[in-house]
Amino acid sequence: MKKQKTKGLSYGCISGISFCVIMAAWCIATYGGFVSDIFMPSPTAVWESIVEMAKDGSLWEHCFVSTKRVMIGWFWSAIAALPIGMLMARSKKFSAVFQPVIEFARYLPVVALVPLTLLYLGIDENQKYVIIFLGTFFQLVLMICDTVSGIEKNMINAARTLGANKLQVYTEVIFPAALPGLMDDFRLTIGWAWTYLVVAEMVAASAGLGYIILKSQRFLATDVIFAGLIMIGLIGLVTDFLLRLLTKVIVPWHERLGD
């Protein structure tokens, strides 16, 4: 027990050191005058622009708008992918219908679909959700299919011979058994959702972190670009942390978490 703890601590140390090294490199490059302000702002400049945006409230607004878009787009993608992925894993027929379409669609670069979404949906919020949906849905279906295929077959057979009907097998066995893996899939795809959000916001938006990053580029406000990037990174970290925490709460029985 004690040994493990020191091990955990040393990993923490490594992370801390790597963070410090990056910060130090940044400081030396900027304060030392090796790189021009326009290419790379100093930490102070970035900090000041963050504080300024926080004061006038625009920072929170952009963060809120972006987070909301990611969550809604990703949420619908997860809701739609879940039954399709589960059914694909369980039924050869269903898989035969969906597999080719999904394999094809997932290689379509989402960026190339942006003009179409603009044509069909204009520049309102729905267009942003659709971009995020398209970016995550197909991958998520295949990941869910994979996770569900990996469930111990004996468990499903046991349920069937204990008298569970088809629906009960899904709700009482397949879903809970897949849950730890599904949480991992969700956590990964929510990260990708941020990528597609920025794609969506850079094309047609009047708010959001992607939007301020693009707008700042026009004014060469590199400090604001960095501020935007840092905010995306931080929100990503927090989301990841919260999802991990949620996983621990909803699947406390999972072997990997140990006790």
């Binding site: 111990e152 004996n154 468990m155 057979n157 046991a158 349920a159 069937r160 011979t161 204990l162 008298g163 569970a164 009907n165 009960q168 009482e172 066995v173 809970p176 058994a177 849950l179 699947v251 029985w253 999972h254 072997e255």
Partner: protein, 264 residues
């Protein structure tokens, strides 16, 4: 007159070829067997002779290529709570406590909560897991997990209990303990049991009657009654009648492998 609980008639199982280079596998041929009410029947046979295929077909998890499975004279298709199964591998639901695992089948049948708890308690006691009601499967040893699996199936009151090498993954000592436990349970509950193993000792220790299967394609080679007197426990393993029977079965299986080696 003795009641025939489970009957398998002219069962065949052929696994079709997978692709052009693959050959189809005849796993089972002309299987006929009967299990009487409250009887403990063991099928013993070499690895790969189709034991699992057979029990999965009886349990309704696989389709037979030909032939019928009957319970009380009626054909059955697909899985059902009348044929409870215990598997070799890990089959407990890891997110449910011992008690909830045992209640699973009853919950599917919408048995009220209090009654479920009452039945679960009875079977927890029967398999000797009192005090572990609220443990999770990951907190149990291999033997305890199989106890839960057995209790879970019994609590569902199946007509026939189908067991596919349920103790195959356990260490030798735990195995004997579990065999004795199962022998006791089958005597007390008068369940009808079809048990599969490739362990001859296990077969004789548990069975009222033994079917010996041949190598692939699996057919039934011989049937014999176990008439050894006395308690079914580890002491039985050194009785002369036991050893005589063991020698007979071993010879039969050895003959099988000879035939296979000669390419017959």
């Amino acid at each position: 007159m003795e009641n025939i609980k489970l009957r398998v008639k002219n069962l065949q199982k052929v696994y079709p070829a997978n692709g052009r280079k693959d050959k189809e596998v005849v796993a089972l041929r002309d299987i006929n067997l009967e299990v009487k009410e409250s009887e403990f029947v063991v099928m013993v046979g070499p690895s790969g002779c189709g034991k699992s295929s057979l029990i999965n077909i009886i349990g309704g998890l696989e389709d037979a290529t030909e032939g019928e499975v009957q319970i009380d004279g009626k054909d059955v298709v697909g899985p059902g709570a009348d044929r409870g199964m215990v598997f070799q591998g890990y089959s407990l639901f890891p997110w449910l406590t011992v008690q909830k695992n045992i209640e699973f089948g009853l919950k599917m049948k919408k048995v009220p909560k209090e009654e479920r708890a009452k039945i679960a308690k009875e079977f927890i006691d029967l398999v000797g897991l009192t005090g572990f009601e609220n443990s999770l499967p990951k907190q149990l040893s291999g033997g305890m997990k199989q106890r839960v699996a057995i209790a879970r199936t019994l609590a569902n009151h199946p007509q026939v209990l189908l067991m596919d090498e349920p103790f195959g993954a356990l260490d030798a000592q735990t195995r004997v303990v579990m065999q004795e436990l199962l022998a006791r349970i089958s005597r007390e509950t008068k369940n009808t049991i079809l048990f599969i193993t490739h362990d001859i000792d296990e077969a004789i220790l548990l069975a009222d009657r033994i079917y010996v299967m041949s190598r692939r394609p699996g057919t039934i080679r011989d049937v014999m009654d176990v008439t050894i007197e006395g308690e079914r426990n580890h002491e039985m393993l050194v009785k002369p009648e036991f050893l005589e029977m063991k020698r007979k079965i071993m010879e039969m299986l050895w003959q099988e492998s000879q035939d296979a080696a000669m390419g017959k």
